[in-house]
């Protein structure tokens, strides 16, 4: 049973994190002013919107390496109409630190003309995350190849990228710029923070403030020059907070490469109508669809696990042997039977 006193302290802290007591402190400490919020003017857009997403499901672990099922791809819309969903990668990934070079290098070389990935010891635990991210970049690259000037590519996440893959991102930005395609990263969750005494959520508080300052409007706010903890920021672009739809309460962190700096209002204007679906109000609908089409469900993960076990059995491994190697002892404690 938790300590009552401790519980109330935690509750107070959470309240302090979440609630925004008046705008003055927020505006003062972040340097944000009312005029910094730019109302988005909706504009008609008949080009294609590509939305890139990826998914990663742990299939099994045998202590020295993991097997993950990874999927990446994109959904394509024209106005409100879904055109197609393209899965660019859908396979198992054997996350063994010693195999990392052979897992990554062919893709980096083939798609981005880059040499071997440089992983530090501390990065090895994140192998499957890197791999999923790399596959998402391959998907962006494929979308770029199929896009036309003026199209928009949305990426689910942030461009505040793991250092080993920054060069990949730089290549993508360069290609997108050449092709005159807008590339934006939309993050559903963000660690952007403000505050001196405690760490406060910047995107949520900006959204609350804007609801008072510009009720019912879609807007965007550039973080340039604002007192916000925005990470390392070495990825070569600008970060914004955006409310895509005036009827929604939600705002998102949006990362934009440098080359789009002057066109932000115009690009976001093309996305307002696309972000007011009944299914997912306030979020660019293509990202919603990409998430649903590309996600790996629990059943898919279980099926992949069973296929893997069947494959091992065919190779002559006894079930007992497989279980001993792969079963996580937590499964025993939780009385789960995954194998």
């Amino acid at each position: 049973m938790e300590d009552r006193g401790r519980l109330s302290i935690i509750a107070e802290l959470i309240r302090d994190h979440i609630s925004l007591d008046g705008l003055d402190q927020f505006l003062c400490q972040t340097g944000v002013e009312k005029n910094d919020f730019v109302v988005i003017q909706p504009s008609d857009f008949s080009g294609e919107i590509f939305a890139i997403d990826g998914s990663n499901a742990a299939i099994c672990s045998y202590l020295t390496a993991n097997v993950n099922l990874i999927r990446a791809g994109y959904a394509v819309y024209r106005k409100r109409d879904w055109q197609r969903t393209v899965i660019t990668f859908d396979d198992l990934f054997l996350a063994d630190p010693k195999l990392s070079g052979t897992n990554f290098d062919p893709y980096l070389e083939h798609f981005f003309g880059l040499n071997a990935i440089n992983l530090k010891e501390s990065d090895l635990d994140r192998l499957s995350s890197y791999y999923r991210e790399m596959q998402e970049y391959v998907a962006i690259n494929d979308a770029l190849n199929r896009s036309h000037p003026g199209d928009i590519i949305l990426y689910d996440g942030s461009f505040e990228v793991f250092e080993p893959l920054r060069d990949v991102l730089a290549t993508i930005f360069s290609r997108a710029s050449e092709k005159e395609v807008a590339l934006l990263a939309v993050a559903k969750s963000s660690s952007l923070s403000w505050g001196m005494a405690i760490t406060l959520p910047f995107v949520q508080h900006t959204s609350m403030a804007a609801s008072q300052l510009l009720p019912g409007e879609a807007w965007y706010l550039s973080l340039k020059g604002k007192k916000v903890d925005a990470g390392q920021g070495k990825w070569g672009g600008q970060t914004y907070v955006v409310r895509f739809c005036g009827e929604s309460e939600h705002a998102f962190r949006v990362d934009v490469p440098e080359y789009l700096g002057d066109d932000m209002g115009q690009i976001l204007g093309k996305l307002t109508d696309h972000s007011c679906s009944a299914e997912c109000l306030g979020y660019p609908h293509a990202l919603f669809r990409a998430h649903r089409d590309i996600r790996i469900t629990e059943q898919e993960g279980a099926a992949a696990r069973e296929r893997l076990i069947a494959g091992l059995s065919e190779l002559g491994m006894a079930h007992k042997e497989i279980r001993m190697l792969m079963q996580d002892y937590h499964d025993i404690l939780e009385m789960r039977t995954r194998f």
Binding site: T85, V86, I87, L99, Y107, H110, F111, S277, E279, R289
Partner: protein
């Protein structure tokens, strides 16, 4: 053997990207589930009015040379999304109409093979088999199993399939028939259409049974005055298939309509018995009448002082006998058609010829109507029994219509005569056509004897349940459809037709017009049709 590295990494550059493209292939109108007894498919949620799916509609599923037929039982809102997301819907509209849809639940009816043979299905269509609204071609096999008494057209949902008439089988009619509908749903119209088709068969010499209709409302003979509603006499083209008897003098003066009379000698004590509630001594006295008096003159004799004295000599109290006599006098006084002569022999003869016999008794009380129906029915059943003994084969079977049948076939009714027709009439070629708006009041065991059911919209759940539990074909799955039937629409369940058929009953006046325009045989000959003799 491959090294670990070669197993884990892609073979070559071309295998690095093998995109799988999912495009807008139509997932709607394809079988998606579920099992042998229930098919499911999805349709767009925003179909225009004319394409909307309706309960009762029949769809066809084409699968490698077989055409499965399935009737829509239910339509549900559905989507590929989990949870209750749609109850908190915001925004301007749905974007992904391929993810949000209506799920159609359908009951398999059977399948048709390449030879147009219909069979019950013991398997299910292949997943994703295409589904479409069944059209004339798919229903063609029904034409082959329909009977000779046309009553309407096949209906698919609200749409008519005019090329496929719905027709009952004469052969099944002596197996009893029920017409069930709440007021205003078209029972009388149905009966007139049914009678008109029977008149047509009779006039053409093709009739297999005589139809007796006793009409207490006076609407079958000439329709309704000062309105467009027509009667059976207006079917001039096949008028010879109809014999009319009326207690209304003005009607009886019409050519072709005889005055209805019943002879006193044709009335039995049990006809009086069904008209009243009797005490035990009174019932004993009624039962004794046949023993005490001459069956041909008991009505006259019992009213005389001598007759009453004979009853009392048998041990019945004078008060009991007085009640009996008073009630008999009342009935004789009330029913002016009771005379020395009788129409019953004629009625019987016409029925045995296969004609439609209409007994028109307008403005007659409920009790008198029952009394008359009892006398006629008993007479008919007795005569058919005699014919059966004598091996009379030339006579046609007979169907006796009873309006408000719950009065005489109900669990609490004391009218064993009609029950006995229901139970044993078929042996002698006598069937019942029970018309009621309250099937729940009809004894379930009797209802189960009915092999032809015409159901025309029943709002009361108990009525539907009673039918569903008694019907020869499974009607349970059609509960919603029966509940939502509109005026003139029916579900027809009968022998020889493999599943309960949705029908739109002809509007009598339209049907009348059509029949009156039919070519007589001599004109058919001129047109190159049937030519019976060589010149």
């Amino acid at each position: 053997m491959q090294t670990i590295e070669t197993q884990a990494q892609p073979d070559n550059a071309t295998s690095l990207l093998k995109p799988k493209v999912i495009e807008g292939k139509d997932t709607t109108y394809r079988i998606v589930s579920r099992n042998v007894s229930e098919y499911q498919f999805i349709v767009p949620f925003n179909l225009p009015d004319e394409e909307r799916v309706e309960v009762g509609q029949i769809f066809s599923i084409n699968d490698q040379g077989l055409t499965y037929l399935a009737r829509v039982l239910n339509i549900e809102h559905s989507s590929n999304y989990d949870g209750h997301w749609d109850t908190t819907m915001k925004g301007t509209q749905f974007f992904d109409s391929d993810q949000i849809f209506n799920r159609v639940v359908a009951e398999p009816l059977g399948c048709i093979n390449k030879n147009l043979e219909f069979k019950k299905s013991r398997t299910l269509p292949t997943k994703f088999s295409p589904v479409s609204r069944a059209e004339r071609e798919e229903f063609k096999f029904l034409s082959q199993v329909m009977g000779d008494i046309e009553v309407g057209y096949l209906r698919n949902g609200s749409r008519l399939v005019e090329e496929i008439p719905v027709a009952l089988h004469s052969d099944a009619i002596d197996h009893h028939m029920g017409v069930f509908a709440t007021t205003g749903m078209g029972k009388s119209n149905f009966m007139k259409v049914f009678a008109a088709s029977c008149m047509r068969l009779a006039a053409q010499g093709d009739s297999k049974f005589g139809l007796l209709i006793v009409d207490p409302h006076g609407e079958y003979l000439k329709g309704k005055r000062n309105s467009q509603v027509k009667g059976l006499v207006h079917l001039t083209r096949y008028r010879e298939g109809l014999a009319c008897y009326s207690t209304d003098r003005s009607n009886a003066t019409d050519p072709g309509v005889e005055e209805l009379t019943i002879s006193e000698s044709e009335i039995f004590p049990e006809d009086i018995a069904l008209l009243y509630e009797w005490s035990a001594p009174q019932r004993d006295a009624l039962d004794a009448i046949s023993r005490i008096f001459d069956p041909n003159s008991w009505l006259d004799e019992i009213k005389t002082p001598d007759g009453m004295a004979r009853m009392m000599q048998e041990g019945f109290k004078d008060s009991t006998v007085n009640v009996l006599v008073r009630r008999i006098k009342n009935e004789l006084g009330r029913n002016s058609y009771i005379k020395k002569r009788s129409s019953l022999a004629n009625i019987l003869a016409n029925l045995q010829k296969g004609k439609v016999v209409l007994v028109d008794i307008p403005r007659m009380s409920d009790r008198s109507e029952l009394f008359l129906l009892s006398v006629i029915s008993r007479y008919i059943l007795d005569e058919y029994k005699k014919d059966e003994k004598e091996g009379e084969e030339s006579r046609k079977n007979c169907l006796i219509t009873i309006e408000e049948a719950q009065r005489v076939l109900g669990a609490a009714s004391n009218t064993s005569r009609f029950e006995s027709i229901a139970r044993e009439g078929r042996k002698f070629g006598v069937g019942l056509c029970a018309i009621t708006q309250q099937p729940k009041l009809i004894e379930k065991q009797l209802l189960s004897q009915f092999n032809t059911l015409v159901v025309m919209g029943l709002g009361d759940r108990n009525d539907r349940q009673q039918l569903e539990e008694s019907a020869k074909q499974d009607l349970t799955s059609m509960d919603t459809e029966i509940q939502t039937l509109e005026k003139g629409e029916a579900v027809v369940s009968t022998l020889n037709i493999p599943f309960p058929v949705p029908a739109r009953i002809h509007r009598y006046e339209d049907y009348l017009h059509r029949l009156n325009l039919e070519d007589p045989p001599e004109r058919l000959i001129k047109k190159g049709g049937f030519k019976p003799f060589l010149e």
